[in-house]
Symmetry: C2
Subunit: 316 residues, 2 copies
C-alpha cells in the first residue's frame, strides 16, 4: 500500500505546473511549494504535470528542478518526479557505472518489481540509453555476480498462483545439495532462483524448511565474510519478502554512522507509491521506533520534509 | 517480404467462418476450400475468423480443424492458423518436450524474431502454459546448450542502428581469443552474442573478419563433429543472416532421404508472412532450382497445395 496522500481535489496539471514555475522564480526557490505539489501527486498526475510544464514553458520540468535544487533534496525530488519505469532504468544505469556501481540496486529492481514492470523498465532503458539493460549489466559485472544478476534482470517470471508441489520438493532438494556442497553459484541453484515464479519459489523454500529443518537463508549464513553469499541472501529475501528486505535496507541506512542518504532516498522514492505502508510496519516492529521518528532524528531541512511527506507523515 | 496473397476484396470474417464450417460438413472435408480461405488471409484476418467462428458455433476453429484434418496437412493448417506469437510459444513448448525436444527450434525463435515479438511470445507462453518460457527452457536443457540458450530466449535486445565501433573492435578481439582457446561456451563470448543489438553484433563480426581475415563461422568449423559447435554456428547465422539460415534449413529438410516435413512446415508457416520472399531467392540461388519446384517434387496432396499457396505459388 502507498503512503503518499493525494488531496481529494487535485488542481489541473496546468495549474500545478504554473505553481511550480512560480516556485522557481523570484527571490530563492520555494521548496515548500514544490513539496506541497509533487509529493502529493501520483505517478500519472506527475506525468501530466511534466507534460503541461513542457507545453507551457518549452522546458523539461526535471531540468528546471535540477537547476533550482541541490544535494539530497534535489536527488529525492528528481527521482520521485520521474515516471517509475524511467526511474528504475535511471537507477539501474547509474548502478552499472564505475563510481556508483551497485549490484544490490540492480538486483533489488529485478527482484521486487512485477514481471510486467520489470519489462517496462527494460523498455525505458532502451528508450533512454539506446542499449539494453542486460548488456550493460553483463558488461559491467563478472564472475558469480554476473551469473546470478543477468538472468535476474532478464527474467519474465510467470505471475500466477499455481504451484507444483512435486517440483517444489525436488527443487528444494537440489538447493539443499548445492548449499551443502557450498556450490553457491551452481547453475541449477541459479536456474531455480531466476526462472521460477515467486509462488513456486515460495513453495520450494517452504519445502526446504520442512525437509531440512532450517530456512535457506540460515543455511547461507556462513562464518567467513563473503560478498557473493550476502548478495545471494539478499536476492532470496527480495524475491520472498521484499518488505523485510526494504526494512533492513532502511535500518542499515539510518543506523549507519552518517546516514546512507542514497539508500534512504531510493527506498522511499521507489516504494512510497507501492509498498511503503507494509515497510513502515516492518520497520516499527523491528526497531521499536516508527520510521518517521527515525527519519526526523537522522535528516534535516527540505530533504527531511520531502521524506516525511512521501511516507505520509507531513507533520511528524 | 511476405509471400501469401490476400485477395483485394476479402469476405467478412463471419462469411469466412461460415464457409469453413461448410467445408467441415457433409461428405468428406473440403480441403480446397480450407486452403482457399485460410492460406489467403493475414494474421489479423485469421484472428477475426477464429473469433467469428467461436461466436457463431461456440467452438474453437482450431479444435474443429484438428478433428477434420490429419497428418502433415493438419499440422501446417493448425500452425498457420495460430496467431504468430501463440504459434511460436507452441513451437517452443513442443521443443522443450522429451520426444520433440529441439534446441534449434528454440534458438531459431529467440534469434530471428524482433525483440518486441520475442517478448510477445513470452507473454503468450505465460497465458497458455501458466509458466515462463525460460523456466521450461532452463529446466529441459543443460551444460553448454543451456548456457547459451537461456540468455537467448530472455534477451530484449536494443533494436536501433547505433553502433559503437570501439566496442566492436574490442569485442571482436575477445571473440577471437576465446575461439583460439576453443572456449566456445566462455561467458564473455556468450555475453556478447546474447546481449548486444543485432546492429552492434554485425559490426563486431565485420571487425572480426577485418582483423583476423576470416569470417567467424569459418573459424568455428572444426574437423571433429561437435553438436554444440554446430549449434553455435547456427545461432550466429540466425542473428546475422536469418534468410540464409532458413534457406539451409529448407535445403536440408528437402534433400533429406524422406523429407523432414516438420522443418519444412515450420519454416513455411512461420516465415510466409514475414521474410519468405527473401528466403525463396536465397533458395533458388543456392540450389539452382526454385523452392516451389523442389516442394512439388518432394510433397503431395493437400499438404503440397497448402505449402505452395503459402509461398505464393498456387499454380506451380
Amino acid at each position: 500500500m502507498a503512503t503518499i496522500k493525494v488531496p481529494a481535489n487535485v488542481p489541473c496539471p496546468e495549474e500545478d505546473s504554473e505553481q511550480l514555475r512560480k516556485a522557481f522564480k523570484g527571490w530563492g526557490t520555494n521548496e515548500a511549494l514544490i513539496i506541497q505539489i509533487l509529493a502529493h501527486r501520483n505517478a500519472s498526475q506527475r506525468k501530466l504535470i511534466r507534460d503541461a510544464y513542457s507545453a507551457a514553458y518549452g522546458e523539461d520540468l526535471l531540468k528546471d528542478l535540477q537547476k533550482e535544487l541541490s544535494s539530497d533534496f534535489e536527488r529525492i525530488v528528481l527521482l520521485w518526479t520521474l515516471d517509475p519505469h524511467e526511474r528504475d532504468a535511471y537507477l539501474a544505469n547509474e548502478a552499472t557505472k564505475m563510481l556508483t556501481a551497485s549490484n544490490l540496486v540492480i538486483m533489488e529492481i529485478a527482484c521486487t518489481r512485477s514481471s510486467h514492470d520489470l519489462f517496462k523498465v527494460r523498455q525505458a532503458y532502451h528508450a533512454r540509453y539506446k542499449k539494453s539493460l542486460e548488456e550493460d549489466v553483463a558488461y559491467h559485472t563478472k564472475g558469480d555476480f554476473r551469473k546470478l544478476l543477468v538472468p535476474l534482470v532478464t527474467a519474465f517470471r510467470y505471475e500466477g498462483d499455481e504451484v507444483n508441489m512435486m517440483l517444489a520438493k525436488s527443487e528444494a532438494k537440489i538447493l539443499h545439495e548445492k548449499i551443502c556442497d557450498k556450490a553457491y553459484a551452481d547453475e541449477e541453484l541459479i536456474r531455480i532462483l531466476t526462472t521460477r515464479s515467486k509462488a513456486q519459489l515460495n513453495a520450494t523454500l517452504n519445502q526446504y524448511n520442512n525437509q531440512f529443518g532450517k530456512a535457506i537463508n540460515k543455511d547461507l549464513k556462513v562464518e567467513e565474510k563473503d560478498e557473493y553469499l550476502a548478495f545471494l541472501r539478499a536476492t532470496i529475501k527480495c524475491l520472498t519478502c521484499p518488505e523485510k528486505y526494504f526494512e533492513k535496507t532502511l535500518r542499515f541506512a539510518i543506523n549507519k554512522l552518517g546516514t546512507d542518504e542514497w539508500a534512504l532516498t531510493r527506498v522511499v522514492a521507489t516504494q512510497a507509491e507501492v509498498n511503503m505502508q507494509r515497510i513502515k510496519e516492518e520497520y516499527h516492529k523491528r526497531n521499536s521506533v516508527p520510521l518517521e521518528k527515525a527519519i526526523v532524528k537522522d535528516t534535516t531541512g527540505d530533504y527531511e520534509k520531502m521524506l516525511l511527506a512521501l511516507i505520509g507523515h507531513e507533520d511528524a
